[in-house]
Structures are given as structure tokens and as C-alpha cells.
């Protein structure tokens, strides 16, 4: 009987907790700060003039960065108070999952369930907009010309074809896919930084023969299937990873260009000669990062941050190690393709333009939300404050004009930083950074060095993917065939003589309909 009593007590406890929990849902003012502080908007605010109206309460769905360490709650209070003071908006954040898939799951669920979510980051704003989830910002933004100015052309990324604006872009056009080469190895072998594909091949062979990493552990070239075409294809095709126009005027995905076969042939040779790591298409990203950090990789043909964020760690092991960018050219021109903010996404894994901060259509005060975004984007001091706290406490200017600041506290969690993006990251930098190469690449504006690469012809065009998926129901089949067979051609699992049969199989899965639809949309957009 004691057991029953205990169990009943537990049940009652649960019910009580449940009810108490319900009451204290996500909208209670004291929640949303880590560790459950007593923070209410009033603490720590010495308002110079009393706000004339009730502060607007908004919720920000915050995706933490990968190495998230929650910020000290006292600091968070101060940031929150500061935003309140300057904009009359009380911003509360909800912690979202770090992993992208989970983040999107949770986001969708909250939207479906009607939870209050005012400001959030998304990597698919077009779909949200089409379903009426987002707030139209066109009129509101007219009141904030500074904000639109700061972005300039990049604002086009968040516009629909009727010129309405639906969000604040995180990125604009950028070059994300360099070919990184170990300068110290080149120096040791007395080689110059290669400028053409042929020179690059010579360098790779030299890396292999001389085994500079020791013990046969040298990897001349490391890459990933998704990144590869962006880095190299432009050398073999007219448009790189932009859409290919066939001789009869139809536009289709880049891998239909006959030059794609040339690239596969070249890579197949390299693979056979051991210039490309055998497992390169199997590794997960963290394994590639480990290889780079261990100093085994001669040429990293990858998304830029694989090297830029990890070179510092490599230097601890090999102090003289250094990666530089090789701008390669081939028979058809520059090897790299610019990652345009909007473009045809089939075969491309990340089109940066679809990412941005958006405001929910259910937001009660869109103007307030834009005020908050304006606060951080148009004033670099505010941006830094949103990350590290009050000026003088968390950070201070070292060189205000150049945007260099000293960080006075360890890394924070960035909970209130609703201002991430190319614009802010190119404007300021820490005086001493744990990732010097990365800061050089972004703040040093290498990331917008468009001379390095080709601009895709479909750049800047927003495609209506829903119609495409409806007209061509088996697009994922096309993608799978493309991926699977391309890798087989490169590794030699399938002979290149079967290339035509491969193209046929793409056609059977709907490539022709796809081409028709793409052509239609491009023509409509460029009229």
C-alpha cells in the first residue's frame, strides 16, 4: 500500500507541476534568460526619457552557433535593457536547436502551432513567403532608408518578382569556394602558386611524390562532391555552376553541359594517379576538418571556412603551415563560380540568398521588429554590443574608423545578435582573433573578390521551385543519378564510355520537362 500512496503522490505532483508549467509558458517575462534570472525589463535601465508607450514585446528564435557557450545572464540583461532603451522593444529569445535540420523542424512546428515567433533566421524564405507566413516589409522599410542602404544590392536577394521585400538578407553575392594550397609546401618544393589547371596538376603530383606530410600520409587533394563543381567546373564549362544553355536555347542544370564530362575525365585521371584522396567522397565534414588540422592536406578544394576556421589549430602542430588561395583557370576560363544570392538551386547545395532574417506575418508590430534590426545593422557599435555587452565592459574600440575592436571578455553566446551576415562581418573585426585566416577572408573582403570567379547567368533570378517540383515530380531521382553516377565516373567504378547512357537516364527521369520549365522561368524573369 505504501507503494500506491507514493505513486499517487507522484501523480499529484505531476499534475501540479504540469499546471504550473502551463502557466509559466514561453511568454512569461522572467523566462528566456539562461539560469532563470529575475530579469524584467525594468532592471538596470536608467532611461534618459521615460518611454512614452508600453514597450513592445517580441520574440527572437535564436539558433546558437556550433560552439555555443551560454552568455552570463547579467550581461544578457544589460544587452536586453540597452535594446529596450534604444528602440522601446523588449526582445526575448527562445533557444533553438543548433543542427539545421532540427532547427527547421522546430521552426515549422512552432509556426504550425501558432506560437509567437517574431524574428527568426531561415534558409528558405521563399517557401515561407509563398505560404503566407511572412510579413511584407516593403512599406515599413521605406521608413528606414539607412537599413536598405547598408545592404545595397544584396537586398535583391529578399525580393519577390513583384519587387516586394520579405526579409533582411544574411548574404549577398560571394565567392565561397577557393582552392586552398599549402604555401609552405610550395616553398619547400620551389614551386609557384599554380595559375592554371595544368600547373595545379603538376603541383599535386609534386605533393604526392615528395610526401611532405611524412609516412605516406600526404593527401595531395581533398574535396567533397558538393563543393567540387563550384571550385573547379568553370575551367571546363562556359558558365561554371550556372545554368547551361543548350544549342537549341533550352536552359538546364549545369551538369548537362558537355564540358562537365571533361571535368569528370580529368578528375578520374587524378583519382587513378592517387592525387585525390580515395575516401574523399565518403568523409563527413568533421573528418575533413581533422585531416586539414593534422597537416595532411596539400590542396583543399572546399568551402572556404573548412580551412579558414582551422588553420590556427594546424599551426599549433606545424607552425610554418599556411594556406593561400590559388585562382585557377582552364580552357574555358576561371575555375570558380560566384555563389550568387539567388540562382537555380538544383545541384547546388547552398544558395546563400535564401537565408535571411524574416518577420512573422503574425507579428503584432512589424515596425518595432524592423526598429530592432535597424538598431544593430546600421550601427557597428550596436552590433558589437549585441554580441559582447556594453561598450567599455565587454569590448572597446581599438580603431573605430577601421572597425577594429578589442574583446575584453571570452567568447559569448551571441544570443541577442540578430545581425549576423556579410554586411556586419565585413565591417568590424576583433583586434586579435582566434581565427585570423577567417577574419582576413571576410573582413579583408576576399569573400567579395569577384575577379576570382565567374558569375552565373542565372544569378539574381528567384525561381518558383514549387512549380518545378509539381511539373517534374522526380527531381530527387535526377539529383541522385547525378550524384551517384558522377562519383562513379570519377572513381572509375563506371567507365566514361557510358556517359551517354547516363545522360539518357537523366532524361528518362524528367530532365526534358525540367529544362522546359527552367527556360520558361528564366525568360519570364529576364523580360
Amino acid at each position: 500500500m505504501k507503494k500506491t500512496k507514493r505513486v499517487l503522490a507522484c501523480l499529484t505532483a505531476v499534475l501540479l507541476l504540469g499546471m504550473a508549467g502551463c502557466g509559466g509558458g514561453s511568454n512569461a517575462p522572467s523566462e528566456g534568460t539562461v539560469g532563470g534570472g529575475t530579469g524584467s525589463a525594468g532592471s538596470g535601465v536608467t532611461a534618459t526619457e521615460a518611454p512614452s508607450e508600453e514597450p513592445v514585446k517580441l520574440i527572437y528564435f535564436f539558433q546558437p552557433p556550433a560552439n555555443y557557450q551560454p552568455t552570463d545572464s547579467a550581461v544578457l540583461q544589460k544587452i536586453r535593457a540597452r535594446i529596450l532603451e534604444d528602440t522601446n522593444v523588449d526582445v526575448e529569445f527562445i533557444l533553438a536547436p543548433i543542427d539545421n535540420t532540427e532547427y527547421n523542424n522546430k521552426l515549422n512546428l512552432m509556426l504550425a502551432g501558432g506560437e509567437q515567433l517574431d524574428i527568426f533566421l531561415t534558409n528558405g524564405w521563399e517557401d515561407l513567403q509563398r505560404n503566407g507566413v511572412l510579413a511584407d516589409l516593403t512599406d515599413v522599410l521605406k521608413e528606414y532608408p539607412e537599413l536598405t542602404d547598408v545592404f545595397g544590392n544584396a537586398m535583391e536577394a529578399m525580393k519577390t518578382n513583384d519587387n516586394k521585400i520579405w526579409g533582411i538578407p544574411r548574404n549577398g553575392d560571394a565567392v565561397h569556394y577557393p582552392v586552398w594550397i599549402r604555401k609552405d609546401w610550395l616553398d619547400e618544393l620551389g614551386l609557384e602558386v599554380p595559375k592554371t589547371i595544368d600547373e595545379f596538376e603538376t603541383v599535386l603530383k609534386a605533393f604526392k611524390e615528395n610526401d611532405l606530410a611524412g609516412n605516406g600520409k600526404t593527401i595531395p587533394m581533398l574535396t567533397s562532391f558538393e563543393n567540387l563543381p563550384h571550385c573547379l567546373l568553370g575551367a571546363y564549362t562556359e558558365n561554371g555552376t550556372g545554368v547551361y544553355t543548350s544549342p537549341d536555347g533550352l536552359m538546364m542544370p549545369f551538369f548537362m553541359d558537355p564540358g562537365y564530362k571533361d571535368m569528370l575525365t580529368e578528375l578520374n585521371d587524378w583519382y587513378k594517379d592517387g592525387l585525390i584522396d580515395k575516401e574523399t567522397f565518403i568523409y563527413k565534414d568533421n573528418q575533413r576538418i581533422d585531416l586539414i588540422k593534422q597537416g595532411r592536406v596539400g590542396a583543399a578544394v572546399l568551402w572556404f571556412s573548412r580551412v579558414s576556421l582551422n588553420e590556427q589549430e594546424l599551426k599549433k602542430l606545424v607552425p610554418e603551415a599556411e594556406y593561400v588561395i590559388a585562382s585557377l583557370e582552364g580552357p574555358k576560363g576561371k575555375a570558380e563560380t560566384v555563389n550568387a544570392y539567388a540562382r537555380f538551386p538544383i545541384g547546388i547545395s547552398t544558395a546563400p540568398g535564401t537565408t535571411g532574417y524574416v518577420i512573422s506575418g503574425k507579428c503584432k508590430d512589424v515596425d518595432a521588429a524592423i526598429r530592432v534590426l535597424n538598431w544593430g545593422f546600421t550601427n557597428t557599435g550596436n552590433y558589437i554590443t549585441s554580441r559582447y555587452g556594453i561598450e567599455g565592459e565587454g569590448w572597446q574600440w581599438a580603431d573605430k574608423d577601421a572597425g577594429v575592436f578589442d574583446l575584453l571578455v571570452p567568447q559569448t553566446g551571441d544570443e541577442y545578435c540578430m545581425y549576423k551576415g556579410l554586411v556586419t562581418e565585413m565591417a568590424v573585426r576583433e583586434s586579435i582573433s582566434p581565427n585570423e585566416k577567417h577574419v582576413e577572408y571576410i573582413y579583408g573582403k576576399e569573400i567579395v573578390n569577384f575577379d576570382r570567379a565567374k558569375y552565373p547567368p542565372d544569378g539574381g533570378i528567384h525561381f518558383d521551385m514549387k512549380t518545378i517540383y509539381d511539373t517534374v515530380p522526380n527531381v530527387s531521382d535526377i539529383l541522385r543519378i547525378y550524384q551517384e553516377e558522377s562519383i562513379k565516373f570519377i572513381t572509375g567504378a563506371r567507365p566514361l564510355s557510358e556517359y551517354d547512357a547516363y545522360i539518357e537516364s537523366l532524361k528518362k527521369s524528367g530532365m526534358d520537362q525540367l529544362a522546359l520549365e527552367v527556360t520558361k522561368q528564366v525568360e519570364a524573369a529576364t523580360k
Binding site: T101, N104, N105, L107, N108, L109, L111, A112, G113, G114, G124, D127, L128, N131, V133, K217, F225, D277, K278, E279, F281, I282, Y283, K284, N286, Q287, M465, Y469, P473, N474, V475, S476, D477, L479, R480, I481, Q483, E484, I487, K488, T491, A493, S505, K508, S509
Partner: protein
């Protein structure tokens, strides 16, 4: 019994109305109002699924991988439990049991990372052993011939210890007197196993078997997702990974619900069938 039934009604049956999503065109962030007003598309998502060039391959892979696990992985915990049961040294038994649970607790991400390292042709342990004996390194994770084996062995490794718990619990329910009587009658270890132990846990084996059959179309999504790569799609792409990629690319919420429904129907048919057969064989069934 009432609280239990209430639970089922509220949390399981009413949400089941959500199955209509499979027959409509719904985006992942639509709420109730939107689901109700979404366009009805009938069987289009199902047709979409069946018309894929890869439908049969994906189905085939799913079934084969599940059957592999059924044949190799289902008996493994049972045998393990039986072997442990023979151990008389109590401390040893406890320690071995606790150790055998460890694989189950390691997250799949970690396990996949380890398996990748182990199987690497570039210095992985397994290939090092092969080379030591004079063989050529094998590219396990890149080879269509080996990938299913890798997936299955990983699954067995992970679940053998944890899976044996239920059988060990069942074994404790067999009365010691039966064993003593048998020994007195001169039965050796093996005979005792066949005539007392096995029949004693047959009811639970039969139930677990039926449940396992119901999972035929699952095949371990997370494990496959982490271990596969385009080089081995041919033999390792299963229904769930196929749908997953489609969902990532196309935001196809309705599609994945439709495929889920398809899998459920098949699972239901299989379980009912197996249950019926088991009943005929005189064993324990689900109902």
C-alpha cells in the same frame, strides 16, 4: 485501465486524423486551419513515390537490410542471453552484462564515426589486419558489396547486449526445480537447454519476433544515413533515406506522410500475417 485508454484516445487517435495530410498538399509549417483548407490531391504523392526510378531498388534495399538483421541480428541477443545464463560466477555475469549495454548508449553519430575510422582503407584497423595477413585493403564503406554487411554488423554490435535484457528477465522466470529434476534424470547441459530453457522463453521470443517483423520497412534510418554515401546508394539507400533527401530538397511534408502511411500499411499486414501464422503454430501471439 481507464487512464491508459484515455491516453490513447487523446494522444494517438485524434492525431491520426492528421493522416489526411498524405492526401493533400501541405507544407511543413501549416497549422490546423491550413491543413483543413489545403488542396486535396488524392493519391498523387503515392504515385509520385511509386513512379520513381528508384522505387523498387529502395524497397528492395530496405527489405534486404531488414531481413539480414532478422536472420543474423534477431537470434544474437537470444544466444547471448543463453550463454550468459550459463555463467555461475555472479560478479563476472554482472560485469559482462553492464559492459554489453555500452554500445547501445553510444550515440549513433559516435558509432558511425568509429566505424568509418575502423573501415578506412587508409590506415583503419580492419584493413591493417587484412594487410598484415597479406591481403589487399578493402574499401568497405565505398563498396556496394560490403556496405550492407557493415550496416548489419554495426546494428548487431549495438543491440546485442541491450536486446538480451528482455530474454534474461524471461530466463529468471523458469523455475529452478525444473532444472534440478532434469539433472537428476541425467540430462546434460545441452539437453537442459533444448528441453527446458528454450521452451521456457519461447513465448517472449515469439512476441519479439512478431514485433521485429513489423519493423521490416524501417531498417534503421539514422544508422544508414550516417554510414551511407552516394557510392553505395545502390545497395544502401532505403525508403527512409530516400524520403529524407526528398524532404530536405523539396520541403515535401505531405510526401513523407504519404510514404509513412504506405510503410504502416505494409507493416500492419505483415504483423497480422505473422501473428496468424504464429497462432497456428501454437505459440504466444499479440492477440
Amino acid at each position: 485501465m481507464v487512464p491508459g485508454l484515455l491516453f490513447f484516445i487523446i494522444y494517438k487517435y485524434i492525431p491520426m486524423l492528421g493522416i489526411v495530410v498524405a492526401f493533400k498538399d501541405v507544407a511543413p509549417f501549416d497549422g490546423v486551419a491550413e491543413i483543413i483548407s489545403a488542396p486535396w490531391v488524392g493519391f498523387r504523392h503515392f504515385q509520385n513515390f511509386f513512379s520513381s526510378v528508384f522505387f523498387w531498388e529502395v524497397l528492395h534495399n530496405t527489405v534486404v537490410i531488414s531481413l539480414l538483421y532478422l536472420v543474423l541480428g534477431f537470434p544474437a541477443p537470444i544466444i547471448f542471453a543463453l550463454v550468459i545464463n550459463e555463467v555461475t560466477h555472479l560478479r563476472f555475469k554482472k560485469v559482462i552484462q553492464t559492459i554489453s549495454y555500452l554500445p547501445h548508449f553510444l550515440s549513433m553519430v559516435v558509432v558511425a564515426g568509429m566505424v568509418t575510422n575502423l573501415c578506412s582503407p587508409n590506415g583503419g584497423l580492419i584493413n591493417a589486419i587484412i594487410e598484415f595477413f597479406g591481403g589487399e585493403p578493402v574499401f568497405f564503406l565505398g563498396s556496394n558489396q560490403h556496405i550492407r554487411g557493415v550496416i548489419t554488423l554495426t546494428a548487431i554490435w549495438q543491440e546485442i547486449g541491450w536486446g538480451s535484457i528482455i530474454y534474461l528477465a524471461a530466463l529468471t522466470g523458469i523455475s529452478a526445480e525444473l532444472y534440478e529434476a532434469a539433472t537428476v534424470d541425467g540430462a546434460g547441459r545441452w539437453k537442459r537447454l533444448i528441453h527446458i530453457t528454450l521452451p521456457g522463453i519461447m513465448p517472449i521470443i515469439s512476441i519479439m519476433f512478431i514485433l521485429q517483423i513489423g519493423k521490416v520497412l524501417d531498417a534503421g534510418f539514422e544508422r544508414v544515413l550516417l554510414l551511407y554515401n552516394p557510392s553505395v546508394y545502390q545497395n544502401a539507400d532505403i525508403i527512409d533515406t530516400f524520403v529524407y533527401r526528398k524532404g530536405i530538397n523539396e520541403l515535401q511534408y505531405s510526401f513523407s506522410t504519404a510514404v509513412g502511411l504506405f510503410k504502416s500499411v505494409i507493416a500492419f499486414v505483415l504483423i497480422t500475417g505473422t501473428n496468424w501464422v504464429t497462432k497456428k503454430l501454437g505459440q504466444e501471439t499479440l492477440w
